[in-house]
């Protein structure tokens, strides 16, 4: 098992390396002096010169890459000229709200989506199925920020149940923290629910047409147990996979949701950094999110062994 995990971990290295290469090239392929871009519009000549030496811009490009990669691996993500802080500090300040939001959203989505998907599959072709699937298409189609403003308008402005915007740190109490996140988490989970419910339905339906379902019925097994003991367990791998892949959607959604609800997290930071053309921050955020995404999908891969004994370590 451990050697398997190590091997899988090793297999993520080329992917992360490719991401790093792309993030690196992003800046070099842009017309203009990378040092000037990194230093920002208001930088002094001295600042630009310092950055030049630090990045080794006089060296050949391959060497520049390894200098850059080396500093990243040492945890030196550079300095934000806009926020006047190191990028590392900036990210550690902003990570709590984003993690909280993402965690609540995933829990909410899984709890709602999987039962809906199973129900739709079991009642395939009935109105229940059509309602669930209809909801899912709508969930894919309505932009996150429209849902966000709609919820704010109804539940915060008209009904006053939740704060309109803003974030309460968890250190200030769990209840205010939770209350500040209910609407954002609902907003963000819509598309995720749509995705998971759909995949659950598809894979349960597929499993229901398998021969061993017929065998279970031939044994005299009840429909409910056929569904939950035989079908859902076999459908687990694609469902877990889509939960993992959906994290990409989630990260995209975080950027928008945090802007709508004025939550000072990484998503909001991304937008601010892009608007300020604060490249060290943009690069670091892309690297960080990609790393998390790859890591989550690695965990998903490893979890297959729990659901399917055919997948071996």
């Amino acid at each position: 098992m451990i050697s398997y995990i190590l091997r899988r971990l090793a297999a993520t290295v080329p992917v992360l390396f490719t991401v790093a290469v792309m993030v690196f090239l992003m800046l070099r392929l842009t017309p203009g002096d990378p040092a000037a871009i990194i230093a920002g519009d208001n930088a002094t000549t001295q600042q630009i010169l310092d950055i030049r030496t630090k990045l080794g811009l006089e060296e050949p490009i391959l060497q520049q890459f390894f200098i850059w990669l080396g500093s990243i691996l040492r945890g030196d993500l550079g300095e934000s000229f806009f926020f006047r802080k190191t990028v590392f500090e900036l990210i550690s300040e902003r990570i709590e709200p984003t993690l909280s939001l993402a965690f609540l959203t995933i829990v909410l989505a899984v709890v709602i989506a999987i039962p809906l998907g199973v129900l739709a599959a079991y009642r395939q072709g009935t109105w229940i199925d059509r309602v669930v699937m209809g909801f899912s298409v709508i969930g894919f189609s309505v932009p996150v920020f429209v849902i966000g403003y709609l919820l704010i308008y109804i539940f915060a402005i008209k009904l006053g149940w939740f704060p309109v915007q803003g974030y309460q740190r968890i250190s200030g109490g769990v209840f205010p923290w939770f209350r500040s996140l209910v609407l954002p988490a609902f907003t963000l989970s819509v598309i995720y629910i749509a995705l998971i419910a759909r995949m659950t339905r598809t894979s349960v339906l597929e499993v229901l047409s398998e021969d061993y379902i017929r065998t279970a019925r031939a044994k005299g097994q009840t429909e409910v147990k056929v569904l939950f003991q035989h079908a859902l367990k076999n459908a687990a791998v694609p469902i877990v996979t889509v939960v993992g892949i959906g994290v990409a959607l989630l990260i995209g959604g975080v950027v928008v949701t945090e802007s709508v609800y004025s939550i000072p997290g990484l998503g909001r930071l991304t937008v601010d950094a892009v608007l300020a053309r604060d490249f060290p921050v943009i690069q670091a955020i892309i690297l960080a999110f990609s790393f998390v995404y790859v890591l989550i999908n690695l965990i998903v891969d490893l979890s297959y062994t729990i659901f399917d004994p055919r997948i071996r370590y």
Binding site: A11, Y212, R214, T215, A218, K219, G220, Q221, K233, N234
Partner: protein
Amino acid sequence: MTGPILEIRNLTVQLPKGADRKFAVENVSLTVNPGEIVCVVGESGSGKSVSSHAVMGLLPKGQLTVAGGEILLEGENVLKASANRLRDLRGTRMSMIFQEPMTALNPVVTCGEQIDEVLRIHTDLPATERKEKVIAVMESVRLPDPIKMYDAYPHQLSGGQRQRIMIAQALVLDPALLIADEPTTALDVTTQAQILKLVAEMQERRGTGVLFITHDFGVVAEIAHRVVVMQKGHVVETGTATEVLTNPQHPYTKMLINAVPTLTPPQREDRTGEVALETVKLCKVYGGGGFFQKKREVRAAADVEIRVRRGETLGIVGESGSGKSTVARCIARLIEPTSGGIVVGNMDIAKLPERQLRPHRKHCQIVFQDPYRSLNPRRSVGASIIEGPMNFGMSEADAVAKARDLMKLVGLSPDALDRYPHQFSGGQRQRICIARALAMEPEILIADEAVSALDVSVQAQVLDLLDDVRKKFDLAVLFITHDLRVAAQICDRIAVMQNGVVVEHGRTAEVFANPQHAYTRSLFEAAPGRNFQFARVA
């Protein structure tokens, strides 16, 4: 119990609208008595599976509906039973085993638990007693080391072992009726023999009535007490096994039995044509693994040496995994051999790059197993046939003229050239594939299980066609098959393969009369119905 266990009276099952006929089965009646094995035999589309699924109440909802008749299980009409009553009966009074033991078992549940599930549904036994009972039934179906196998998952077992688990699961509560739907079709011949023996033994010991669905008259001869012959949804003949097999009355039954190839090959004279194909120490190793995977190597073919003369048919016989198809695919250069030589004419083509293979492509053609996937569904069959000759510079007009001639030769209308594959039956498609191969004027024709997917009556016709074209074009034919009867009928010489190695090689008549290798002998002993002389009726 004196009355019959199962009585099907005038069963009629409706097909959905738009099917080729109105009823899947019409007015079917049959009886299974206690302690009796009744074989329902028929070709694909005969309705034999539909009848058996109707008994269990497992017809796919909304597609097949029972339109009339009754099915009496120990006197109780199951068609009138409530869903709950039907569930009570399944597993206790009637149970079923299926064709594919791999897909019929839940892959994520251990074998023991799957047998245990029947007990949990239908009994209130405590866990320890249930476990004892499961182990006991696993022992009775001759599974090795039942205690260990209880915790094994289906994928860790062989095909035969999985089918034993299925049988154990079906018999654990001693049902009165066991329905076996082609339970040995997906198995190798030696495994098939063991499973047939087991079914017969269990039936005898427990007095179960067995409804056994099969398409194979060899299996019928091996196991049946009584036989029901079905054709296109109707029962055309019933009788005891001996009656039906030795003295068939209905023309359809006669035709089916006549089509069963004999296991006694005719004496054939040696072919003396020039050697068209020779392999020298041909090896193919699969796998090797990537950078992050463990290395796993499979020697699919090891030092295979065969030789085929023009006008001769060499059979390569073996079970699944024996490497017979690998050899065929190497010779057709669909894959590159790992080492060794393939001499065609005076050239070793084993290692030639694709560019230099073109002359070989013309010389060597292949006919595949699955007639439904061998023709591009988006192109007319004419376009498929003329593709090869036009690749080698023939004008379209000439190629079409040639295709028309070939269609006549393989027994199809030349006007059908602009039709699409889905408009033909399996046998007709296989004829088209032969025409496509012949269009290249090859010297070597490889038939890779080319008749295995066909019904027995169609199989006989395609075999005749293959033999005809061999004579007519003086072809060297390499005939890959798992079926000894087919090999006996068409091959001049055979090579028996096991685990990638040719274990025996010789004239067909001699190998059949006096097999030398132990594996060859076990193959012959396993051939179903080998002791049975089928009626040869005009």
